[in-house]
Symmetry: C2
Subunit: 323 residues, 2 copies
């Protein structure tokens, strides 16, 4: 058995508000995980190294200097180091070619994965960090449009084994700031379970409006619905959610990210996937299955390519454990 076939790896999901480390077997099985609130914004004096070492110390004691991999915001301007963006169109190999391996004081390594940029975007190049790894985990073999829900949702075209082009829509940010801070949603009450009827009414408002109305117009319906008795406080948040995500689909359709009746994939690992799948259905789209652990899968694929490319450095931790 080669080292590669038995090796455990540590994969980090280190965002602005949370820290998560996964102990991952070669087949992608998560053997253990650690989750703390030490997101990038909570790390004092840039001591990312200290936070990491304390978190993974038990695994290192048990398993030696396991290689660490990190995609996403920890490799951004406000994170540990600022990683470059690989220009689209890009294959998994193009991403692996731009990893940065940083030696750790104890002899281990942390390997940062690059982001992705679409320089054809208007008026500034579009960017993603982390989603490119999820896309690799989904697989780049099929030609398909993919949407990745989130604070800054991404619509992506995969074709010919590459991530060809993508575009960001700030849907999650609009929903989040409005539901937490706006007058619109001031009287809203969160129901125990999502109110899918209210949600679909919000979707229908946008999808079925024959007028060329936009988001600034539609949003006021959250308030006038409440004032007129058309919505009760328990319905307002889900109505807002349906309205905003449907607006994303409407913009994506106008910009030809999808056509009527097409098949798309929704990639993510939280409740937003169901939200997006329901809106996709309401827009007449069918769904390609997508794994929940696309981020881990993608990170492993890129890690393996990088390890073949830089065998001496990245096998170091492994060799040391066996020595």
């Amino acid at each position: 058995m080669t080292a590669n076939a038995t090796r455990l790896r540590i994969i980090l999901d280190w965002g602005t508000t949370s820290f998560r480390a996964l102990l991952v077997a070669p087949d992608g099985t998560v053997q253990d995980s650690i989750e703390t609130e030490m997101g990038i914004h909570s790390v004092k004096d840039g001591d990312f190294l200290g936070v990491l070492q304390r978190a993974i110390a038990p695994w290192r004691t048990a398993h030696g200097l396991l290689p660490v991999y990190a995609a996403g915001m920890i490799g951004s301007r406000n994170g540990w180091i600022e990683m470059p963006y690989v220009p689209a169109p890009a294959r998994a190999e193009d991403l692996a070619a731009q990893v940065k391996i940083v030696p750790l004081p104890d002899g281990g390594t942390i390997t940062f994965l690059p982001g992705l940029t679409d320089c054809s975007a208007h008026p500034f190049p579009d960017v993603m960090r982390g989603e490119e790894t999820q896309l690799v985990g989904l697989g780049l073999e099929r030609d398909i449009t993919v949407v990745l829900p989130g604070t800054h949702a991404k619509w992506v075209r995969i074709a010919g084994g590459r991530i060809v082009a993508f575009q960001t829509l700030v849907t999650g940010e609009i929903f989040g700031t409005l539901s937490r801070h706006s007058f619109l949603a001031k009287v809203a009450r969160k129901p125990a379970m999502p109110d899918w009827d209210a949600f679909l009414k919000g979707v229908a408002l946008v999808r079925d409006d024959k007028r060329p109305a936009g988001l600034l117009t539609h949003l006021f319906a959250v308030r006038t619905g409440w004032l007129s008795g058309g919505l009760v406080p328990e319905q307002m948040t889900d109505y807002l959610s349906g309205l905003v995500v449907a607006s994303e689909f409407q913009e994506a359709k106008a910009l030809e990210w999808f056509k009527d009746g097409e098949r798309i994939a929704v990639v993510g690992d939280d409740d937003l996937v169901e939200v997006y799948e329901r809106v996709a259905g309401a827009f007449g789209l069918s769904l390609e299955p997508a794994p929940e652990d696309a981020a881990v899968r993608g990170c492993l694929i890129i890690a393996r390519i990088a390890e073949e490319r830089y065998p001496t450095v990245l096998a170091g931790a492994d060799r040391q454990r066996r020595a």
Copy 2:
């Protein structure tokens, strides 16, 4: 000289976050004003009466039981009393016919002005509270489109001496919540003076985009502009402002609230008027002059009509002082 010609009136501008009382002469001159932070949300146990009486006590000592008038949010569901909405199309007389005169314990009165509703709006009736008074103050004689900037901006059609129809766009709410709470604007720094160049770049992004892109797409340019070096932190807030207000104009144009080269009026009393006038100019519109004190003028006009209609009740305070 009649009582009406010499009478002082108190006009309230009592919103969710601030309280303002104006002592107004018959010609509309503001003789004195009181401003506190006792907005509707700060009033404990619904004691609006107490807040009002304490605020205007010095004026009453000096001038007797002056009649008090109040338009806007103090007459809403979360305010002192919930006033009805007069359906558009409506004249000043229609608004005056729906005032509600509430006697005060000391023998004076407070008169609440109604709001306005447009029942033709989709999917729920649209509403305004306070802006209808500004429109009366602007004057309903000219046929013209009017925009009233604000948290919930209003586009209004005035024709045949009436407020015919209107529509709300939640521009101010989007700008406010995003500039204060979003990742988009996290690194933005407020410049000492507005950066009108950055502002106009935000306007141009929306106005000149040949794609059918919407707000969710355009907004991410605030972040990618910063990431790519196209915007510095001091430019981001004004770029966001230009982008969002231009999106309002784009939606208003698509919905035929104005046509190329038309003349519109921008009505308001704060810095937003300049912002909107600049965007109107960028969209090729010319501007009808509008008074800054439209709210006071409108309130006086409606007050006089109401006083002719209800002379006994509304002259009561006046008579008592002279007795």
